[in-house]
């Protein structure tokens, strides 16, 4: 398999800082991050200065930057909490973006070696995806494997990969009820595979460990759906789940691939599932309603860019979901605002 050569200056690593002291996080990732440019975005609700160790090539964005850029053009877009990273996506001009939650450190593979999550995401994004037919030996472009007997030859070129969704060892990305029911459940299974999630199949796209082709799908990674009482733990959010479904629809329509599997990151203990469980659940119930919508939404031939796709999805959300609940109408509005903002920022 030929080596994938990628220029370091094609990559931005975007970190949403929900915690003030990023020292141990940054030091843990230093061997993998140091080659690349970093964008660190401070949660606008987090007061004080962030503690960031030296020796990195980075840009830091805070609330004041958000106010400057977004200004008065929108009141629906919020960069609070985990959504602060989207400001980083907005500001980035690089081709590939990798984003990892600030409570994750490098994991070890089954041989005990540290996993370079950045390199693996880059490999995923720069090798073809195979969304139209399932390969039983998983990613056929991986070294040591290939397409199996019976895989149509006309589909063996694959398509470009738009999104790479990594996984988590230790604290898996379970929802609060699941983790509360099994408080000691930790993910210790290292599944040595990357696979393409087939076209028209929906998945829960966790934002904890994710990478994407900013040129192809950038605008689809947007902050739109917030729970009324969204919190600072992943158990208390669904924003990435909503965004993920939009992004998958966009990728399916533009015939781009979405990969899932490697790389793993090690997710550290933080918070209490039981405490999070006590919070409001209205938004989570609402998510049940949107599944049939996302599974069936189809975009027009005229939608040829991610921006076009997002605009059409927003219109469908407003028309089909917005009527039953104002939260959806608001999400649709935010999506439209986001595209406007995206274009505005890009034109400067």
């Amino acid at each position: 398999m030929s080596q994938v050569i990628i220029q370091d200056d094609e990559v931005d690593i975007v970190i949403g800082a929900i915690q003030s002291d990023l020292t141990s996080f940054m030091e843990a990732w230093r061997p993998m991050f140091s080659r690349f440019h970093l964008i660190i975005v401070q949660d606008p609700d987090l007061n004080g200065e962030l503690k960031i160790p030296g020796g990195f090539n980075l840009n830091l964005y805070t609330k004041s930057d958000m106010d400057k850029v977004v200004g008065s053009s929108s009141s629906t877009i919020s960069f609070s909490g985990y959504s602060c990273r989207y400001f980083g996506y907005l500001m980035s001009r690089k081709k590939y973006i990798i984003s990892i939650d600030d409570d994750c450190i490098p994991a070890k593979d089954s041989k005990g070696e540290l996993v370079d999550a950045v390199a693996q995401h880059i490999t995923n994004l720069t090798t073809p995806a195979t969304p139209f037919f399932f390969n039983t030996l998983y990613d056929p472009f991986c070294k040591g494997t290939d397409f199996v007997r019976g895989y149509p030859f006309s589909l063996r070129n694959g398509v470009e990969c738009g999104l790479s969704c990594g996984l988590w060892l230790n604290l898996a990305d379970y929802d609060a009820p699941t983790q509360a029911l099994k408080p000691n459940a930790r993910n210790s299974r290292y599944v040595d595979a990357v696979l393409t999630v087939p076209s028209r199949t929906m998945l829960p796209l966790s934002g904890i460990n994710i990478a994407f082709n900013n040129e192809l799908v950038g605008p689809a990674l947007l902050p739109a759906f917030r729970l009324t009482k969204e919190g600072k733990f992943r158990w208390e959010t669904v924003e990435d789940i909503w965004t993920g479904m939009c992004a998958k629809v966009v990728c399916d329509h533009l015939k781009l691939g979405v990969k899932s599997g490697l790389p793993y990151v090690w997710r550290q203990e933080r918070g209490s599932a039981v405490e999070s469980l006590k919070k409001e659940w209205e938004g989570v119930q609402l998510m049940e309603e949107v599944v049939p919508f996302f599974q069936s939404v189809r975009l027009s031939e005229a939608a040829v860019t991610a921006e076009d796709c997002v605009a059409e999805i927003a219109a469908s959300v407003k028309e089909q979901l917005g009527r039953s609940n104002p939260m959806f109408a608001r999400a649709a509005e935010t999506m439209v605002e986001w595209i406007k903002l995206w274009k505005q920022v890009r034109s400067q």
């Binding site: 089954s110 037919f133 399932f134 390969n135 039983t136 030996l137 998983y138 040591g144 494997t145 290939d146 397409f147 199996v148 007997r149 019976g150 895989y151 149509p152 030859f153 006309s154 589909l155 969704c165 996984l167 898996a172 990305d173 379970y174 929802d175 699941t178 099994k182 459940a185 993910n187 210790s188 299974r189 290292y190 599944v191 040595d192 595979a193 999630v197 087939p198 076209s199 028209r200 199949t201 929906m202 998945l203 829960p204 796209l205 966790s206 992943r234 158990w235 669904v238 990435d240 789940i241 993920g244 899932s260 998510m287 049940e288 599944v291 599974q295």
Partner: protein
Amino acid sequence: MAGERAATPLLKDELDIVIPTIRNLDFLEMWRPFFQPYHLIIVQDGDPSKTIKVPEGFDYELYNRNDINRILGPKASCISFKDSACRCFGYMVSKKKYIFTIDDDCFVAKDPSGKDINALEQHIKNLLSPSTPHFFNTLYDPYREGTDFVRGYPFSLREGEPTAVSHGLWLNIPDYDAPTQLVKPRERNTRYVDAVLTIPKGTLFPMCGMNLAFNRDLIGPAMYFGLMGDGQPIGRYDDMWAGWCTKVICDHLNLGIKTGLPYIWHSKASNPFVNLKKEYKGIYWQEEIIPFFKSVTLPTECKTVQDCYLELSKQVKAKLSSVDPYFTKLADAMVTWIEAWDELNPSGDASAKLANGAAK
């Protein structure tokens, strides 16, 4: 990975192991610790005058071509000759709820800890737990020990659907087609991927018959392995054909198909030049067959596997005959297969779901 707490049911009176062979069954010695409790159905392909020696201590029934002709009469025409596709005769004569089929060059593999893998036990686990075809779980099979549904997985879909098929994989010699074998004769599959996952609804896959288990009650009649071998223009597409038909029907009936564990050790690399001759037409025909299966819709009135399969055979005849007259023959054979299946498996209302070992 967490240790197993609940013992997996053996299902020894509910499962048949179907093995096609033309040479010998020495490989069963290695499988003895895992297979001995079960009844074997051996389908002997090739020269019926040859005696296949079965190792001592196994409970089995054996069918050669003469038996197949005797039992099916003129309907025997649907069963391939001189091809392992004949194994589906074993599915038809079985009276059990579950089938496990394995090739005679497949041995016990070891997991990364060095332990022997009980492939049959894993297939049973796969079949007895639900599938999740409607929404992809990023941590793979959520019913496995040590994992669960991830955040964002719709709660309304967490009961899953019944599992109809468990598709296992192979270490060592991978199941490549002839062109790939020619280009990469030395490639071996050494990667142990510790996952089972459901192939999503609406997605097709290449089903390999080397290491396969299924619920005969749920999907049996769809497991017809087509017309291959002697007198046929194509080979090595038997399991592929069965897999595409099975997947379309499972999608229609909301049944699940799992793939991944268990691994077996595939020891024999077949001759790529021989394979190329067999596969040659398939490589071209596939390009028409796949769009056909992708666009197939079955009417809601089709509620049993047999109904679905007969409907499929009509569509094969209507839409694929223009590719080659072979498909007209195949469509007719599909009908013959269902007629033979229903004859050997009478159940009153022809529903595959009710048939559970009707005595002959």
